[in-house]
């Protein structure tokens, strides 16, 4: 697995979220891809425990349509993000799990005329598709998942 290509993929994904361009971003996911933001530290179970977000492609598509809907008042505000990605580690490839890549990400979100900072450990499971990758799962562990959260209308 080419580390440089993986890094390039992470940066490209972050770029799409920074803008944000959810139409293109959703297509980075495999058909059975999952976006998961747990609501507790070291959360093991996305189904029998609450999460902030646990979206498959269907929910991502619903969320994307809501995001651009003209009558979604919480989405009338401009949203822009800046992802900084570091501490990238690539685990050896696993036949079933794909390639697991962990990184630390600091995301500054501009929303409702305020800047906020999110700090998270992000775990990508990637599968190779031709020259490129597809995301099997993106897991975003906030450093404070159980703290009171403010409205967040964009994926980190």
């Amino acid at each position: 697995m080419n580390r440089e290509r993986i890094e390039e993929f992470l940066y490209r994904e972050a770029d799409l979220l920074d803008r944000p361009d959810l139409d293109s971003w959703v297509n980075l996911f495999a058909e059975n891809g999952i976006y998961w933001m747990p609501a507790a530290e070291d959360q093991q179970d996305p189904i029998n425990h609450i999460s902030h977000i646990y979206d498959d492609r269907v929910m991502m598509e619903i969320r994307r349509r809501n995001f651009i809907h003209p009558r979604a008042s919480s989405k009338e505000w401009e949203v822009r993000c800046s992802h900084v990605i570091g501490n990238i580690r690539v685990a050896p490839e696993d036949k079933d799990q794909g390639t697991t890549v962990t990184s630390n990400q600091h995301v500054v979100v501009w929303y409702r005329e305020e800047q906020r900072l999110y700090a998270c450990k992000v775990t990508h499971r990637l599968e190779v598709e031709g020259e490129d990758f597809k995301i099997l799962e993106k897991r975003v562990d906030l450093i404070n998942p159980s703290a009171p959260q403010q409205s967040l209308i964009i994926y980190l």
Binding site: M37, A39, A40, Q43, I47, N48, H49, I50, S51, H52, I53, Y54, V58, M59, E61, I62, R63, R65, N66, H69, P70, R71, A72, S73, S74, K75, S146, A147, P148, Q149, Q150, S151, L152, I153
Partner: protein
């Protein structure tokens, strides 16, 4: 407890209007914290959060008074002031945990039994002959004026004058029964963790919104359309698998549908919408769950339990529950323009895991700060908070169907799109603020 002084609040509350200062005035907020939150029964937690001796859960009973719910040696769940009898330090800092044997203050090491009584003062000889009496309850972690639980839901009040919990709940108590009866074993337990959501606006906005049935089709139009337009494009059998298809679209229900659900108000500010029907009424019934219910209750009683279908039930001012969904939201003010909502989900004992999974899906989609419904609600509360800074109109109105509310013996009933819920809340608000709330209470 200091007694609550009386006063006249008819300058800011009328039967159909409240003054905008109720949402913006920090002094009024402080008074609310003493007079409403300092008198009402406030939801603390559920007994299942503290199953074993010494298990505790900490929270504040209003914006700043720290309390701890703990199971003592006798198995009783106590609600204690989280304040050391010595120099006042908060004794228990963690959100939850187990205090083996005793609580120990981290300052000078005084320790307390789980019922709050003082166990040990280090180097106690220094108090000999000083007049210090370690048996004086003021040196303990004192219990709140009253604490009681109903079907596992623990409430406490700072007021010795509040009527007993059952009387205070009145007819809204049926909703706790319905929530618990939906479990084949007749009991629920907290499961699957908590969501905490910060709201940058006055705490009363969320209470007013619970049974505000004129808002969903406007505020939630986008998510309903987004969900419906996409789900419609999927093959039918793919949609059948999606619980989202049952959960999201009813938020766009018509005025007629909401009108039909009705609103019922009770003394002390409680109310619910729904009863015979609600936006949760058309959820499919899991066959395995249904079988467990019928085995426990029989077909007829099971139908009866399902048929009581409320949407949001408010126990004014701190708790709202969803019987048909099995989640609750707990409100805690912080300041005049800030509060926290916690969403807790419940397992129906004796029901298959799929029921808890649906509850959690609901909490995640609807009540999460990253959800599809909550952020649009908060957006409009914030706009109200910001708009009410305008002096152009001093009043917020709630006239809808005024004069049509029907007063029954223990409750008021009206149409599902009436402002009966607002009138119910602000009658209680005024009586709490004026100190007359518990004047003429009859036991039920």
């Amino acid at each position: 407890m200091t007694s609550v002084p009386t006063g006249d609040f008819s300058q800011v509350v009328t039967p159909t209007r409240v003054h905008r200062s109720l949402y913006t005035d920090p002094d009024l907020f402080e008074l609310e914290m003493t007079r409403i939150w300092g008198q009402a029964w406030i939801f603390i937690g559920h007994e299942s959060q503290v199953p074993n001796t010494g298990d505790y859960f900490t929270t504040n009973i209003n914006h700043n008074i720290p309390v701890v719910m703990v199971r003592d040696k006798s198995g009783t769940v106590q609600v204690l002031h989280n304040r050391c009898g010595h120099k006042g330090a908060k004794v228990v800092e963690a959100r939850s945990g187990n205090a083996r044997g005793a609580f120990r203050c981290s300052y000078h090491g005084w320790s307390y039994r789980h019922d709050g009584s003082l166990l040990k003062v280090p180097n106690e000889a220094g108090y000999d002959g000083t007049g210090f009496d370690s048996a004086n309850p003021c040196y303990s972690m004192q219990p709140l004026a009253q604490a009681e639980s109903y079907r596992g839901f623990v409430f406490a009040t700072l007021s010795p004058n509040a009527p007993d919990l059952k009387t205070w709940m009145g007819g809204a108590r049926d909703c706790f029964d319905n929530l618990c009866d939906r479990a084949p074993e007749g009991e629920v337990e907290v499961a699957g963790g908590v969501l905490r959501y910060e709201h940058q606006c006055n705490w009363k906005f969320i209470l007013e919104n619970l049974n505000d049935t004129m808002h969903p089709m406007v505020v939630h139009e986008s998510i309903v359309k987004a969900a419906e337009s996409y789900l419609d494009s999927l093959p039918e059998d793919a949609v059948e698998q999606r619980k989202e298809a049952e959960i999201i679209p009813p938020f766009g229900a018509s005025y007629e549908k909401f009108e039909a659900s009705g609103i019922t108000g009770f003394p002390f500010g409680h109310h619910y919408d729904g009863g015979k029907t609600s936006i949760h009424a058309d959820y499919s019934v899991d066959p395995e769950y249904h079988a467990a219910m019928v085995a426990a209750y029989g077909e007829e009683r099971t139908r009866e339990i399902y048929s009581f279908n409320t949407h949001n039930v408010l126990f004014y001012p701190s708790l709202t529950i969803k019987c048909a969904v099995q989640n609750i939201r707990v409100i805690r003010p912080i300041s005049v323009d800030r509060f926290i909502v916690e969403t807790w989900s419940f397992r129906l004992k004796g029901a298959p895991d799929s029921m808890l999974q649906r509850t959690l899906l609901y909490s995640r989609l609807i009540n999460s700060a990253m959800g599809m419904v909550g952020p649009d609600d908060l957006e409009v509360y914030r706009r109200a908070q910001e708009g009410l800074a305008s002096p152009s109109n001093e009043w917020v109105e709630f006239h809808r169907q005024y004069g049509k509310d029907e007063q029954l013996e223990d409750r008021t009933v009206g149409g599902g799109t009436s402002d009966l819920d607002m009138r119910t809340q602000y009658q209680a608000w005024q009586a709490y603020m004026e100190g007359s709330i518990f004047n003429k209470v009859e036991k039920t």
